[in-house]
């Protein structure tokens, strides 16, 4: 047994983290929300160059996967960066088409593997369907969008109703959990930085135990959500996958939402503003808390499996 990332897996995550850190993801997310997709598209292209999308596509369709551990690790980095766009949906669609097969798979999987196709998936809303080359319902069938964009708490999440709707796939739920974990990690880091520098009553607010303990609680929850996520990735293809994915989703939802509420409290009034960047992560944390199945639904799934 060796339940830590291999050197290659770690290197891949670090490469992606560095790429995203230098890519102006927050500005891209703001532009995306305002309808300017160019920066987000450029970001998508550079992420695709790392070979990420091929990791969710089987070899017979031009990919190298599915490699759940690698994909989960990469999506955690995407979450940390708040990069806009349907990354989770495209990767989840790749896995879904890999199972459903047929002509859609034959046509689209090679394009997804190359990073050339942006795909949205109804869970039940389809994220960024207006920016997608292909929209699928929950069964992996091509589906039509019905109606205009629905406004999300997170303006970088442009949601659309889709004919036929759909339930989340287990693989997609796992990736959403990975994204949430990355969001939580980013919020913890920005909150710690703020607490070290913001001064009140003549001292850094991070000296106060009340804040220290809030932030320590966030770290505890994040650090114990991560093994659930990686354990679930390793359970891909086994009968326990559904159960383990739901456990990971509950833990990641609770941890990232706690991170968001704590970030808001630690930052005080500035954290409550739109213009200060932590808002991008705070809003996304709440939006994803109940996307891809609420914690209550996933707790129920865990208990059904027991």
């Amino acid at each position: 047994m060796r339940f830590v990332l291999s050197a290659e897996q770690k290197l891949f995550a670090e490469t992606l983290r560095k790429l995203l850190a230098d890519a102006g993801t927050a500005a891209a997310a703001r532009a995306w929300a305002a309808g300017d997709r160019a920066p987000g598209r450029r970001l998508w292209a550079s992420v695709a160059e790392t070979g990420l999308f091929a990791l969710a596509v089987a070899e017979e369709h031009g990919g190298a996967g599915p490699l759940p551990v690698e994909v989960v690790t990469a999506v955690e980095e995407l979450g940390r960066s708040a990069a806009p766009g349907p990354y989770v949906e495209t990767l989840a669609a790749a896995e879904l088409l890999g199972r459903t097969g047929g002509s859609l798979a034959g046509t689209w999987l090679p394009r997804i593997a190359e990073g050339e196709a942006v795909v949205s998936l109804a869970v039940p809303y389809a994220l960024d369907a207006d920016a997608a080359d292909l929209v699928l319902d929950g069964e992996g069938r091509e589906a039509a969008v019905t109606g205009d964009v629905r406004t999300s708490l997170d303006p970088a999440r442009r949601l659309f109703a889709v004919e036929g709707g759909g339930d989340p796939t287990d693989f997609g739920v796992l990736l959403c959990a990975a994204q949430q974990l990355g969001i939580g990690q980013a919020l913890l880091e920005v909150s710690v930085d703020y607490a070290r520098t913001r001064r009140q009553f003549g001292r850094a607010i991070g000296e106060y135990q009340a804040l220290k303990h809030h932030l320590a609680n966030v770290m505890v929850e994040l650090e114990f959500a991560r093994p659930l996520l990686r354990g679930a990735a390793l359970a891909y293809g086994t009968p326990e996958f559904t159960r383990d994915v739901s456990a990971a989703k509950v833990a990641a939802s609770e941890a990232s939402y706690l991170a968001a509420k704590t970030a808001l409290q630690v930052h005080g009034a500035i954290g409550y503003t739109d213009e200060y960047d932590p808002s991008l992560w705070i809003r996304k944390a709440r939006a994803l808390y109940s996307a891809w199945g609420s914690p209550a639904e996933h707790r129920a799934r865990v208990m059904r499996a027991l």
Binding site: Y208, Q209, H213, P227, A247, V302
Partner: protein, 376 residues
């Protein structure tokens, strides 16, 4: 990255499971926090030691079998799944022994570890004092130089297992001019020595789980000093690290308790009570997280250091929540004497001992997150 057990691990698991199936008492032993129960648990430790199952990860020469940490985790899973008795030897095997293995002389290892492994000598910890709890470095009990050894004076308290144990270990101020964590010495002493008075203290449910120790010129030979005189704080901190890490509460305890909780839920729960279902789900999810974290910890090549504080908060709060959920499922029976209640009372001490969870949160904030150290 994988979660696979090798064939040797599987064979080891089978051996442990078979032995436990044949030997675990059909009826639970009386509480180990009572005189009668303590004696029964001592006998159980001897049986475990006889099968070389008391301390599987220790070297063979001291009574272990040189098992890997993964096999130790496997042992713990099987142990708790079998409903085997609580470990009355815990202070010795989990707190003192790791310190001895790191800092002890070969004479100490040879003299002290085999009887500990065999369940012949049961150890009590003697860290806290009336004025030194979370602030352990303010301790005042003294060790004064004497011919061939030291004389111990002062008072220790909350000394778990001391009501019925054989020997104790703790820190004493050996340099009267010293302050805080300097000038302390780590010593071991017999609880039946001349000058030692043991006054048992009833824990929340009245059982004498710990004791006060009054020490009046208790002689300890030089051979029972661990590490160098005056270097006790550094020596003891290696024990504290173990205590907060995996050894104090291995994941097996929670995995097994959660299995039982799920069973209780199936038997007792109102199916429409989704709030209760969610609490049981959370206990299961968190037990699994702690188990996986354990596998991660033993897979790492580096020392987890202050990260052990993350573990301590996680397991101690899980333990309380899990047992509270069980009592709530039991409804009106929740207050009646039962294994659930015994373990609930036991769990309530978790957030307090081995460094309160507030101290652990300070450690996390300052050493792991890098927040500034503030006024104390």
């Amino acid at each position: 990255m994988d979660l696979d057990f090798g064939p040797e691990d599987a064979a080891f698991r089978a051996e442990v499971r078979d032995w436990l199936r044949a030997h675990v008492p059909a009826e639970p032993l009386p509480s180990l926090e009572t005189e009668e129960g303590f004696a029964a648990h001592r006998e159980w430790e001897k049986a475990l030691g006889g099968a070389r199952l008391g301390v599987v990860s220790w070297p063979r020469e001291y009574g272990g079998r040189g098992a890997s940490l993964l096999q130790w985790l496997v042992f713990e899973e099987e142990y708790y799944a079998a409903g085997a008795p609580g470990r009355v030897s815990q202070n010795g095997i989990n707190l003192l022994a790791p310190t001895l293995l790191e800092h002890g002389t070969s004479e100490q290892l040879t003299r002290i570890l085999p009887p500990m492994a065999a369940g012949e000598v049961i150890w009590a910890q003697a860290w806290s004092e009336p004025g030194a709890g979370s602030d352990l470095a303010s301790l005042r009990a003294t060790a004064t130089r004497a011919d061939g050894g030291w004389l111990l004076d002062g008072q220790k308290t909350w000394s778990s297992r001391a009501a019925f144990a054989d020997r104790g270990f703790g820190l004493f101020r050996s340099d009267p001019e010293s302050e805080r964590h300097r000038g302390l010495t780590y010593l071991m002493f017999p609880l039946d020595a001349e000058g030692v008075t043991v006054r048992p203290i009833g824990r929340l449910d009245g059982k004498p789980a710990f004791a006060e120790l009054f020490l009046d010129k208790v002689f300890v030979p030089d051979a029972d000093v661990i590490g160098a005189p005056g270097d006790g704080w550094r020596v003891a901190m290696s024990t504290a690290g173990n205590e907060r890490g995996l050894t104090l509460r291995s994941p097996g305890r929670f995995t097994a308790a959660t299995e039982r909780l799920v069973g209780l839920w199936k038997e007792r729960a109102d199916p429409s009570d989704t709030a209760m279902r969610d609490r049981v789900a959370d206990a299961w999810i968190r037990s699994r997280a702690y188990r996986l974290k354990g596998f991660e910890t033993i897979s790492r090549s580096d020392d987890i250091g202050s990260e052990s504080s993350l573990n301590k908060i996680y397991w101690s709060e899980l333990d309380v929540a899990l047992h509270e959920t069980a009592l709530d499922l039991l409804g009106a029976d929740g207050e009646l004497e039962s294994e659930w209640l015994e373990n609930y009372v036991f769990s309530l001490a978790g957030p307090i001992y081995a460094g309160t969870n507030e101290i652990q949160r300070n450690v996390i904030a300052e050493r792991l997150l890098g927040l500034p150290r503030g006024a104390r």
